[in-house]
Symmetry: C2
């Protein structure tokens, strides 16, 4: 079958030490310290075959390009990939996907029916392939699995005609039928994973809000936009997005933002205090990836706002140190949480139900393309900020 594959050279930086879970020449938890000269191309590969009774084969319908895909193919001046995390090359990319079950092992249970998966069931799947038995998994924290594998990072992903996953990662999209017609159901399904990343950040880790609270989201990428939609549905009275790109600011308004700010032209702090009548916000989401730049402004809003108990949730990955002022969080009774992942905690099913009850995330899809065009768009997304989400749509 055809698949989009990433190849790169195992060429560790001088200071790199093989981690306990790394495999020489094949897999590392510190991608940007090892892999060099990445190349992305469409190739002929063998079709996946079921090897365990709990596995299913999915005919891929839609698969979105994620910032991580872009960063795995993007390099620094020395040719090292930008993506810092778990990576095992060569691999078929792609993890934000949906499709139809075409084959199911005898013990591949569909949680919708609690019976074996039916052929033809529309599904999406988690990207974090948690093991289910390590201590974090056993305690209900699969996003922090000690034996983690990741679809499209070190396990062949969904920029292909078919993809194989264990049934425990798959979620039925039946609930979207009658709400989304034809391909739109699968486009929506391909956005469950990124929307769940935002859900994990603002609801599970961020603690959610009470209806009537204000929220501020920094960064209008897919995660920030999803947070806008989720929090509006959660009853936020004012959802404010700060984002330099006009395209993204407009999308945010379509998804429920009450106010949008162009931080390159307006004073972010004054605008937030103004829009919230000086009260500030209960939840701030750092989804820009440049926390060292935006953090002092978040602190100034928290310091000057009359409201207290703000939570700052960090979801974007960034190496830069954040200049934290402890006193702001003491005097204004505020807190900071870090968020990773999208699995567990009932997040995927709730996101699917939200999508079925009016939260239409497909608006953020800028363009649907063929598999052959994916390598080109993975490159273009490095620079073209007008594109928010580019999604492969198979026949």
């Amino acid at each position: 079958m055809r698949a989009v594959r990433l190849h790169a050279k195992w060429d560790p930086r001088p200071e790199f030490k093989l981690g306990p879970k790394d495999i020489e020449g094949k897999l590392t938890w510190l991608g940007s310290k090892v892999w060099r000269y990445p190349e992305v191309r469409v190739e002929e590969v063998p079709e996946p075959r079921i090897e365990k009774p709990t596995e299913i084969i999915i005919k891929v319908k839609a698969c979105g390009i994620c910032g991580s895909d872009v960063h795995m193919a993007q390099t620094d001046e020395e040719g090292y990939i930008l993506y810092p995390g778990l990576t095992g090359f060569p691999v078929t990319l792609g993890h934000e996907f949906s499709g139809v079950v075409v084959e199911a092992g005898p013990e591949a249970i569909n949680r919708r029916t609690n019976k074996r998966f039916e052929i033809g069931e529309p599904v999406c799947a988690e990207e974090m392939l948690w093991c289910g038995h390590c201590r974090p998994c056993a305690e209900g924290f699969p996003n922090h699995c000690e034996n983690l594998n990741e679809l499209g990072f070190n396990v062949d992903g969904a920029f292909a005609e078919y993809v194989k996953v264990d049934a425990k990662y798959a979620w039925s999209l039946r609930e979207l039928e009658g709400v989304y017609e034809g391909d739109r159901l699968f486009l929506a399904g391909s956005l469950v994973e990124p929307t769940s990343v935002a859900y994990n950040a603002v609801i599970v880790r961020g603690g959610g809000i009470r209806p009537g609270d204000n929220v501020v989201i920094l960064g209008g990428g897919p995660i920030g936009l999803a947070a806008v939609a989720i929090l509006k549905h959660a009853g936020a009275s004012k959802v404010i997005l700060s984002e330099p790109s006009e395209v993204r600011r407009n999308l945010a308004k379509e998804l429920g933002a009450d106010h949008v700010i162009d931080p390159t032209k307006e004073n972010f702090v004054e605008a937030v205090l103004d829009y919230t009548n000086g009260l500030g916000a209960k939840l701030f989401l750092e989804a820009t990836g440049v926390p060292q730049l935006v953090w002092p402004q978040i602190e100034e809003v928290i310091w000057r706002a009359r409201g207290i108990n703000a939570t700052v949730a960090i979801v974007a990955r960034a190496d830069a140190k954040i200049p934290l002022t402890g006193e702001v969080f003491q005097v204004r009774r505020a807190q900071i949480v870090g968020s990773q992942g999208h699995s567990g905690h009932g997040t995927f099913p709730r996101v699917i139900s939200l999508m079925a009850s009016g939260m239409d995330m497909t608006k953020i899809i800028s363009k649907t393309v063929s598999m052959e065009e994916i390598p080109e768009y993975i490159k273009r997304l490095q620079t073209d900020k007008s594109l928010v989400k580019v999604t492969m749509l198979n026949e």
Copy 2:
């Protein structure tokens, strides 16, 4: 009556702007930006008189010197006081106190009896004089009162023969009778306020622990030591204190610490991972006041520990920026909270009950002195780290 008074010169730094709640020449929320050349001396002052029906007059028995008292009298190279917060001079210092009610207004209700305060009732009192009607107070967050006054900072405090407080800040110490004899009851009572600051940090803001969790406390001052005792009573399996001073490390062991670390001689990170069999801790308390130094080590423990869900509670005040690595808190599912104050949330009564049921904090009192000696010890505590708590004991 005799009282320990602090005088200082109102001489704002060039960049200082009078705050909305500041009063020219008298009161500021940014002490270290205004007050210069502080002097502390014992003087004759008028005895307090009841002016409102809800007030009580207390004959002071014991009153401890707090780090804040030391910092109000300590100056930088330009003669400005070190204490950064709310200050209104001249003022009688002292807020960690206990005593006996000698006079009570007709509506001065004792919460133990829900009736008017009896003469002779042993009491302690909160230092944060919250208003009770602003939005934070009305929502149950008196530590963040918008109309805050502070006993011993801008309202005459308890380094005196008598002190006046509103009944709503006072808490009966009857529960300590039969457990602490004679003056020891008042010495224990004088430690309720600082112990409550630690309680607010680790239990109310820090979220407490589950019995069996490990905890790590950095900084063995009165707050750090109180946290050791509280968390051992809360069922922590391993309480670990990191503190350079041997006197304080020994006190920590007496109060329940399982392990103590001298960070100037041992590798803090290796020691914590070793004592916890690599699991790390659920709660870290930053009580050193030099977060910029200890933070990287806290992060390294969290990053390398197999446990997840750690909370770092910041209770010590510090101007220095903290070098925060967002990824540590994302990947290890950790969070940071800031803590201020000791009021509300049922903290004072619980600390008194803990003291009545075996948590004897009087061990941290290094020395009891007369009122005349207080000015000298406020100065000595700037440098003498062997003294943990110096407490005035009146006849």
